[in-house]
Symmetry: D2
């Protein structure tokens, strides 16, 4: 039976992501206060896997996620989940829109709903909360300083809160991306629409060093869908790169790029190959297909099978 940690509290968009995982609705789900504590529960074996935000998240945690995965005992990303970011406005019983004076939510969510709030509740004041779910949970507390909250539909429904308005985010189709992280003992099979995540220390800091890294991908026709430099934390000026590349380590071109990367930056970390949540396939140029790699290997092997002669004796 699996058990899962996630960035809590209950009702966050991260829990919504977790609930997309088959069986997670019936499994143990442990809310964690921070991304790194969620990941540590995986490392220590307390849970099977953890769901954490990786990009563009409403509740932050992205840089923290990158740094937490890059350091400490190895982990592996085994699944990617996209969650539509849909905000609702919830209020105390009997409250009307016109009566709202204090709205609690996470700062990012407040920023993403500002168009709607300025038009519909222009005089409401913002009360910061540590997450959208926390703002919802405390709405009914006696001592709460707010009379409304902006949160996910999940938490609103679960707590039976009164929904005053739906879809109040300024960007209609916003989605945010989460990853499911386990210990590094399995590898999801190749699906043909995969993603590989790597952490690559910059081997030397000179103009062109990053180019050498990226060339390992470009030279094999491997597209990148994300790149981020992060200070190593040791001292300023020392970097690592967090990269998502199209393809699976079982694709010859990805395996070859990984070998190239290992040669120039042997301290790199493989964080996993896993199915893309959007199932979007990518073009593979003929010269970077598995077939092209196999033909090339066979050709060079055939050259090396020639009988060898001593150079001094040639004549």
């Amino acid at each position: 039976m699996s058990s899962y940690a996630y960035l809590g509290p209950e009702g966050t968009f991260t829990e919504a992501a977790l609930l997309q995982v088959p069986g997670a609705d019936k499994a143990e789900r442990v809310p964690a206060v921070t991304v790194s504590s969620a990941l540590d529960m995986v490392r220590t074996g307390r849970v099977t896997a953890a769901m954490v935000p990786i990009e563009n998240s409403v509740e932050g945690g992205v840089s923290a996620t990158l740094d937490s995965i890059a350091n400490g005992d190895p982990l592996r990303i085994i699944r990617e989940i996209l969650v539509p970011v849909s905000f609702v406005l919830v209020g105390r019983p009997g409250l009307e829109l016109a009566d709202i004076r204090f709205v609690a939510t996470h700062g990012h969510a407040w920023a993403q709903c500002r168009g709607w709030t300025e038009q519909n509740i222009p005089s409401a004041e913002y009360i910061p909360a540590s997450s959208t779910a926390a703002a919802a949970h405390t709405l009914l507390d006696d001592g709460a300083g707010h009379d409304a909250a902006i949160c996910s539909p999940l938490v609103a429904n679960r707590l039976g809160l009164r929904i005053l308005a739906e879809h109040i985010g300024d960007v209609a189709d916003a989605v945010t991306r989460f990853i499911l992280v386990s210990r590094p003992d399995t590898l999801p099979a190749r699906t043909g629409a995969d993603k590989t995540t790597l952490v690559i220390p910059l081997p030397e800091d000179h103009p062109g060093a990053l180019m050498e890294i990226l060339d390992q991908f470009a030279a094999r026709g491997v597209n990148l869908s994300r790149i981020e430099s992060r200070p190593t934390g040791l001292f300023l000026g020392d970097y690592f790169f967090s990269i998502d590349a199209d393809g699976h380590v079982a694709d010859a071109r990805v395996a070859d790029a990984l070998q190239g990367l290992h040669r120039i930056s042997p301290g790199l970390r493989f964080l996993g190959s896993y199915a893309r949540a959007d199932r979007r396939e990518y073009d593979v140029a003929r010269h970077t297909s598995d077939q092209a790699f196999q033909s090339a290997q066979e050709w060079v092997d055939s050259l090396l099978r020639s009988p060898t002669v001593d150079p001094e004796s040639i004549g």
Copy 2:
């Protein structure tokens, strides 16, 4: 007289960064609830400039900062500030370490002090707050659920809070980086140890497109100190890059790189050239010096001064 917005509330590390700016201690300082509202105060003319976190921040806001600067009316970074991240533990009057039951702080700060807390206050429970300063401000409230807070020395001193422990962060020399942002009407003069920040939309999404962008820097010997891909928000798979490069637009090699970038991605944004906070100088290869650029320009100009003849008449 200048006035400044900053990511508040009062006493955040961001305010500590702002107080490093000459005259800011006597100027009007307006706390903002979010990074984007701080920047909007600049755009609307409500304040002269805004201080916001850009990297590795204790209180987050980094991705939000990148996205807020990349969109909307143009802004310009005019100064970079580094702040040592030093945490203190503050408690209610009379409280001893052994008595602490609930510690409030921002999630990132909690994560960064975990080594100390596990050793010194292992049974204390974490209460999330929207910022370290907010945790400090509410410590003395009657309804506060916490009896201690982790915050900056600035807010502890300002509120006269009782400091139970200092320097409790796990990383001794942690610093975090902030930027001062104004409207785009001036340019800080070149100092010889400068940084240029750009936002560059990916012109096409194919393997090698990022290489073409980075090559504009590498080919001119311009080192990058930060790179981050960010989804444009329009649809998944569309990216822009946020980049910090060594040097100033008044350096010939940087100006030349910017021209190359403008040709392949005309929608790029110049977010400013400004002195590096760490004053670290960078090597400039002889072939990328201003002198080399000028000689090359003169040489080509001399070729183009030759009298022109009609190709049909040659003979």
Copy 3:
């Protein structure tokens, strides 16, 4: 009145190339024994210009041409000429094909007609000559060791030699390329289908040094139509590159590439921009058009026009 040197003797394919130049048929034409002596006649002012082979020549001289232009007083290529290489077999009066015993010609010409000779005059023996024209000129000498020659139609007609067979070359559409070289005092105007020839010393000998040179072209979308490394002659392992690039120095992308080359290899030589003999136009990507260069220049200029402020006073 112009005068011309060419790689002789009279009747070579090089003279045929020269006769394509308007007015050359009525001008003084001076045969030279070697390519370098032809070029020296230009350098000393003895002639206005010289026609010499540059590629794929029947009578060799290509490497010699490259080396002679790369060293010594500067020269400039002002025109390119293509000559169809059509061979004829000429014989002494009264001679029939079946009677031919000794055929004189230049070694390259003999190689290029081997298919025809093996089929039609299999028992004929080859007599090497220093040029196809020399073989023709000496055919009627008493002491000549040969009774037939392979040469150009030009010399056959001019000497009134009896043509036994035409179009005997193995490759039907073979052409060879010649250049007209003058002193460096004019520049042929841009036609839109031009070529630029350069001599570029390798600045340093390490893997990637050649890439740095070629990147100056690729980064500006400039295609190469010829590249050749040549030892400098000073010692083995020291190279220069002889390169033909699409475009004219008056094209912004070519001028910019030349500046980049000058910075990394200031000893490069510009050997001219001139109309392509085949008039083939080339695609210019939008981001490398003169317009794109001008827009980029204007954009950076506008950035540099911002009023400058003292970094120390910012606040």
Copy 4:
């Protein structure tokens, strides 16, 4: 017992190169009229191997060599020979320097001795010959139009010709390079100072296509010592590249580069890996050593050994 073809006639510098091969002095040596006929004797089995000039040759033949090897049945270079180019002036018996009126030699040799001839025999006239050896051989013929010749010491000594002056070349240390070519059935063993020769068709003609080829070398730290574009002869604008790279196909970095080349240009030809004549060793960066390749291979293999799980079942 081996037999050899070479670019004749007897006494050329090419024969001097052949005589450096162990045992060649006692083996059958067959002079060939052209490079391609020498190579064809190898292809047909008439001889074991052929010695032909490949670079910088006094008697030309370089482009012819490249083209002849690139087409037709496969051949393999098994040895490289350097020959110091030392010219002597030989004359008819009794002739003094001051009496010389006509000097025969190959055009390239005449060019390379011009400094000496202008100073010492300024009034002598040049008679072109098809090779330096041919000029020497015919010197004693009754019908010869010349009374002196410039040739190699080899032919002068062999024919017992009277040497009027030695070391008359303008460049003191000139050397020229020759290759020994066999059928493709053996591979000289790796020596640590090797060279690999390739013929690579340009897969597509666009700016950057050549870069993609060269990047296969640069990305593996493989230096090039020669590159030459050659028209394929099919039509103008279609090219192949003739390349010499440092290293042996048995070096992991070279084998890997060859695989990369095969993927983008599957029609490439491997012309051999063989000991450098100058024995000059090259630096191998740590990240391109055989050890680095092996470690990288093992690392990726270890990733692929993880048990695979069905992506649909993850959770």
